[in-house]
């Protein structure tokens, strides 16, 4: 049962901030249970994980490992395939450095799209520079969407890695990961998926999709900042190198420089982790599961269709992704610079983001270097969308300058 009023009551920020928060692709509000999990660690559980011979440490270590189980169940993986990182960026960098740099060779191809977020493309630039691999891009449709036909056309035998976001942070389309993985695997390529915008919003099943690596962030799914996840197929994780060594990642080492690393996932988790954030992420995952990811997706989709229809009715708006199914709406107010419009919307109690989120695709495909992005989550309401639409109607250059007087 999806009860929006009950859900909104779970989020202190909704009461405290008094804004229609529509920048959920950047970060999300936290429910009280996540905040409590974080503060509970500091007030009742403080001790290190996997270290002490006392009750406190045992309890917190157990809960830390329970968090791994909770995240694994959330995406249908095995706990040993879940690495805690600092966020999606670190997760994706870990794949590029730990797998790409070790196994890619000169002439190998990394296939990606022009809509990729920096986190899933810049690390591969670096790998290419070091090993002599090259990046190729799948052409996108005029609406910035990648079709499966275009993907098939771009695949060939030299492609070793397909690096792709399941949901683009600019255009909001959901990619058919299962089909993509099947095709990539036929060519012997691995799929590295940026799940930062998909895991918080749609049901994820890595076993069903067959994705090889999936990186995502805790704070975009109601969890704390400073924690993220890398899922990797266990056999791949075992072959892969960590890019950081230290306490907790090795089983033993000697004076001659021999190191015996632990098995995955522990060899990737050197140093004391963000324990309170991991415990907070566990609470977030449990919270999302209690509502149900299918319910979350369906509610968000309904809200998106509502917002999309209203936005298309306005004659002062250029709307770039009317047909996407997630809560990301990318647009401009005609004749108004994106940042001016976003500042005006701010004065109307609406938090949205302006920016050149992904200059390459935006400039070449939709011919706008800066856009406004409104990104919804399951705690937004139709009333907030109405408020947003009314404010968009009033967004003129005159009103944007007027906010300074």
């Amino acid at each position: 049962m999806f009860d929006i009023n009950k859900i909104r009551a779970d989020f202190p920020m909704i009461q405290n901030a008094k804004v229609a928060y529509m920048d959920n692709a950047a970060t999300t509000f936290k429910p009280q249970c996540v905040i409590d999990a974080v503060t509970n660690y500091y007030t009742h559980q403080t001790s290190n994980v996997h270290r002490g011979d006392y009750d406190l440490s045992y309890q917190v270590s157990k809960e830390y490992e329970d968090a791994r189980v909770a995240v694994a169940e959330f995406i249908h993986a095995e706990p040993k395939e879940i690495i805690f990182t600092s966020g999606a960026s670190m997760s994706l960098n870990l794949v590029a450095y730990g797998y790409g740099r070790k196994f890619l060779k000169k002439g190998d191809v990394i296939l990606s799209t022009e809509a990729e977020h920096a986190s899933n493309i810049l690390p591969w630039f670096k790998v290419c520079e070091e090993v002599g691999a090259v990046i190729e891009y799948i052409p996108l449709s005029n609406e910035g969407e990648m079709t499966i036909e275009a993907f098939k056309g771009a695949m060939h035998d030299k492609v070793k890695i397909v690096a792709m976001a399941e949901v683009s942070n600019v255009m909001g389309y959901i990619q058919p990961m299962k089909e993509i993985c099947q095709i990539a695997h036929e060519y012997g390529a691995l799929v590295v998926c940026d799940g930062a915008q998909s895991v918080p919003h749609v049901p994820i099943d890595v076993k069903d999709s067959g994705v090889d690596f999936l990186g995502f962030s805790g704070h975009k799914m109601c969890g704390p900042t400073g924690v993220g996840v890398l899922y990797g197929r266990f056999d791949l994780l075992q072959q892969m190198d960590p890019f950081m060594l230290g306490g907790g990642s090795n089983a033993r080492f000697d004076i001659c420089g021999n190191i015996l690393l632990k098995d995955a996932p522990y060899k990737f988790e050197a140093g004391t982790p963000a324990i309170e954030a991991v415990l907070g992420l566990k609470a977030a995952v449990e919270y999302l599961r209690s509502i149900g990811m299918k319910n979350i997706y369906e509610y968000e989709h309904e809200l998106r269709v509502y917002a999309s229809k209203k936005l298309q009715e306005l004659d002062n708006i250029t709307f770039y992704n009317p047909n996407a199914s997630t809560g990301i709406l990318t647009f401009n107010v005609n004749g108004v610079f994106a940042q001016d419009a976003a500042s005006f919307l701010n004065t109307k109690g609406i938090a949205v983001r302006s920016g050149n989120h992904c200059a390459k695709i935006l400039i070449e495909l939709i011919e706008a270097s800066e856009t406004i992005r409104c990104s919804l989550y399951f705690y937004n309401t139709k009333e907030e969308v109405d408020q947003f639409i009314e404010a968009c109607k009033e967004t003129t250059v005159e009103n944007c300058v007027g906010i300074f007087f």
Binding site: D340, N346, V397, E398, C400, V401, G402, F404
Partner: protein, 148 residues
């Protein structure tokens, strides 16, 4: 003049005018001009400011790029205020402008039309926009002075 510059409607129209018809808004292909590209990660304005300084005199300033109302208008006003000034005069104007933006004491007579931007401090996240062009010219002046 002073009373007119107290009227919010007049000030608003000044910003609109400088945004829609920015002054000195074309870059020069002239190697005697110094050039600074301003594009910060916390702000989406992306402009280039050029200046020609000879001896102690600012002979010309121009700019171009993609920017919001406040960045465009403030930079346009800056070019009008500083072209033809000596380095010392320019520094005094720049200091007063920053004082205004930081809500400190300043001399409105010195800033003339640029006082239209005094309200920017109300929207703290836009201070970068209101100072982007000013920061560029100060950088070019400082570099020149340091090279002496």
């Amino acid at each position: 003049m002073t009373s007119l510059l107290n009227d919010p409607q007049v000030l608003r129209e000044l910003i609109m005018d400088h945004y829609q018809y920015p002054r000195h808004h074309a870059l020069k292909e002239d190697t005697s001009y110094a050039s600074v590209h301003m594009a910060s990660d916390s702000c989406i304005d992306d402009i280039t400011v050029q200046s020609k300084i000879e001896g102690d005199l600012i002979q010309d300033i121009c700019f171009d790029g993609v920017a919001c109302t406040i960045a465009t208008a403030s930079t346009s006003m800056m070019t009008e205020l500083l072209v033809g000034k000596t380095i010392d005069e320019a520094n005094l104007i720049i200091d007063n402008y920053y004082a205004m933006i930081d809500e400190k004491e300043y001399d409105p007579e010195i800033l003339q039309e640029a006082i239209a931007l005094k309200g920017v401090s109300k929207q703290a996240n836009r201070i970068k926009c209101a100072t982007i062009g000013w920061k560029a010219i100060r950088q070019m002046i400082d570099e020149r002075e340091n090279a002496k």
